[in-house]
Amino acid sequence: MNMKRVYYEDVRFFTSGVVFFWFVALLLFLAAFPFLFKNYYVYVANYIAINVIVAIGLNILVGYTGQISLGHAGFFAIGAYGTLVLMTKAHLPFLVALPLSALVAALFGFLLGLPALRLEGPYLAIATLGFGMTVTQVIGRVGFFGGRQGLHAPELSIGPWNLSTDRDFYYLLITITILLTLAARNIIKTRVGRSFIAIRDADIAAETMGVNLVFYKTLSFALSAFYTGVAGGLYAFVLRYIEPEIFTLLRSIMFLSMVVVGGLGSIMGSVAGACLLSWMDLQLRNILNIPYLGEWLKTLSQSFFSITGVSNIQFILYGLIMILIMLFEPLGIFGIWIRTKKYWKMWPF
């Protein structure tokens, strides 16, 4: 036994040189990404990055603290609308408006966390669902928020930099995403995150060890809402236009499936889940343009189904993938990753 332990190794980020290498490689790739691919893919990357932030935030709540939320589109909306309203009506700079509106989202998260203290399972699901729908409907009906006409994002510039193109915005977005990912990972590894997990695994034991349930559960809601709020604020600038119908129950469900498919209680899982599902969400519309397969599907629809509804195949695929992952790997993509890693470690035995 090595008696001179460096205890920091348990919590440090780069557990080995290999990890460090891949991290740097990833950073380099992300930095070079806009130059390697067309602008359209930069937009897709931006869209994915937004979902990554939400998925991580939601995983803090769902995966680590063990609460259900079907209302995160509400926080997303609060972040988006907050940022735009603060910028256009109060003339605050972006870098002030974004965290401010995320804090507003966090405040709402805290408020939603209060009734959630006593709720679980389907009861919590319906309460959060109600919250999400209420936010959307209220925003849609208040003229101040542009009603159903939505709001356009103003020109965005930070200091001397004008971030008007997808590419410019990409760098800002990706930086924020990486920082938030690392921050989430650090929070989970330290006292607050441990308390979250403790609450999930055995809440009464956690309480008798000194964890304040009220505080940490609401904190988890608030933190999760904060992440989602930041993502919402950024999303307003990815799309450059927001309207209430963007923030529907369907989006909340999509967020939740990203987290569950990616792997509950795993940051990397959230990233993977968000990448996979949001990429599919954008790309499945092209399914009929795939050579041969698309033609075959069209013929199939002509003879057995209806050609007018053929695009709905994307729903079938989407649902199928969700179910298959859940049935065969309850830990999601993260579980698959762990298993593959084990397999290669043991190889060739």
Partner: protein, 397 residues
């Protein structure tokens, strides 16, 4: 200074990775082809509007079968955006930056359209006929955006005028979808009534998600309206009429062009639609107009899928792209975007299967320099879903 270096770097990188910097002619135009893009929801809650894009597709195929325009074939790229602006933006960027579209046509929905409007306008890409009658397209007017769909206000005004002046109705109420579409209707109706020194007796908002319209009908009933405008989706229009019938409330119902597909409305409402008056922006499905007959025969019968229906939404796809085709035709062999815009501006009383369409030279202060159609016509639903024409094309400013 930094910015410049960055740009140089970008250019070099772009060239290194082989970006298509179009040197020849105009983007999306070759000797043989013209690429036109379009989005439309084939899935999701608004999927019923998906037939607009399919109508355009059949129309383009018909033109190509007839030899194309000035020797060029129209290549139609349409994609499904599920009415989700994020997907609209994705699809537009992918097609525009990938294949390169010469212009965009139609495109269903206010929200998806607004999400891509700035992008298209900044790139100076023409966009003809957004399929939603919204003021957003023309306030402020955009040089490259040509609206076709008559404003919902115009329809509201025409309907109110008819109800008051021809039918002698005294109390007009409105049921409206609580969004842009509905509110434009309320505004139009209110303006017209103000002109006639009257007021709406009830304004009842309906939410897209409502599945029970009894409270709404009760409000109408309490207001004792004798004419009710329906500014809702098809589903809610049918539910309003049905619930009214069940509650033995029978005013004259008047609806927007959204619900002017009478055969469909008759079948969904189980016959209750009979007697409803609707405004519309195009010829009727069974119209005797030769152009309409040609479209039915050469576009629909030849190119539509077997389960497609020759309904309003379908040939709306033709209505919205007629001006585009006309504009391209007038450009002749030398097709550029600038020339296209100037030719479009010269359109005067152009009539396809809709009302007359005219544009004016671009004037940032005149929204109507980019609003093509200002005409509407009123129809009454009679037995069997057929329509009786009540008015000729009316022009309302």
């Amino acid at each position: 200074m930094m910015k410049k270096g960055f740009l140089v770097f970008l250019t070099v990188a772009a060239m290194a990775f082989g970006f298509p910097f179009s040197a020849a002619a105009e983007e999306g135009v070759t000797d043989k082809e013209i690429h036109i893009g379009q989005w439309g929801p084939q899935t999701g809650p608004a999927a019923a509007w998906g037939s607009v894009a399919r109508g355009t597709d059949a129309y383009f195929k018909m033109i190509n079968a007839d030899g194309g325009i000035n020797g060029r074939q129209l290549i139609h790229h349409m994609f499904d955006d599920a009415y989700d602006p994020a997907k609209t933006v994705a699809g537009v960027k992918e097609l525009q930056e990938g294949k390169g579209m010469f212009a965009w046509v139609s495109g269903v929905g206010t929200a998806p359209g607004l999400a891509v409007k700035d992008y298209l306008m900044n790139k100076k890409i023409p966009w003809v006929g957004p399929s939603a009658g919204s003021l957003h397209w023309i306030t402020p007017p955009q040089k490259y955006l040509f609206a076709v769909y008559p404003l919902y206000e115009i329809e509201a005004k025409a309907l109110v005028r008819y109800a008051v002046e021809k039918l002698g109705k005294k109390k007009i109420a409105i049921v409206y979808q609580n969004d842009d579409y509905g509110k434009n209707g309320v505004q139009g109706a209110a303006e017209e009534l103000a002109r006639l020194k009257m007021k709406l007796v009830a304004e009842v908002p309906v939410q897209l998600t409502d599945s029970d319209l009894k409270p709404h009908v009760m409000q109408l009933k309490t207001s004792e309206a004798d004419a009710v405008l329906l500014w809702t989706s098809v589903k809610h229009a049918v539910m309003t009429i049905g619930t009214s019938a069940a509650m033995q409330f029978a005013p004259q119902f008047l609806s927007t062009s959204t619900c002017s597909d009478f055969p469909m409305m008759m079948s969904i409402s189980k016959g209750l639609w009979k007697g409803v008056i609707a405004a519309t922006f195009a010829e009727l499905p069974d119209s005797k107009s030769p152009l309409m007959a040609k479209y039915k025969k050469d576009a629909f019968d030849k190119f539509a899928a077997k389960d497609e229906r020759w309904g309003l939404f379908y040939y709306a796809g033709i209505v919205f792209s007629e001006p585009l085709v006309e504009g391209i035709k007038r450009c002749g062999k030398d097709l550029t975007r600038e020339k296209f815009v100037s030719e479009m501006e010269k359109l005067k009383d152009f009539q396809g299967i809709s009302g007359k369409i005219s544009y004016k030279p671009f004037d940032a202060n005149d929204p109507f320099s980019r609003q093509g159609q200002n005409q509407t016509t009123l129809l009454k639903c009679i037995e069997g879903g057929a329509a009786e024409r009540l008015t000729d094309w009316m022009t309302i400013q």
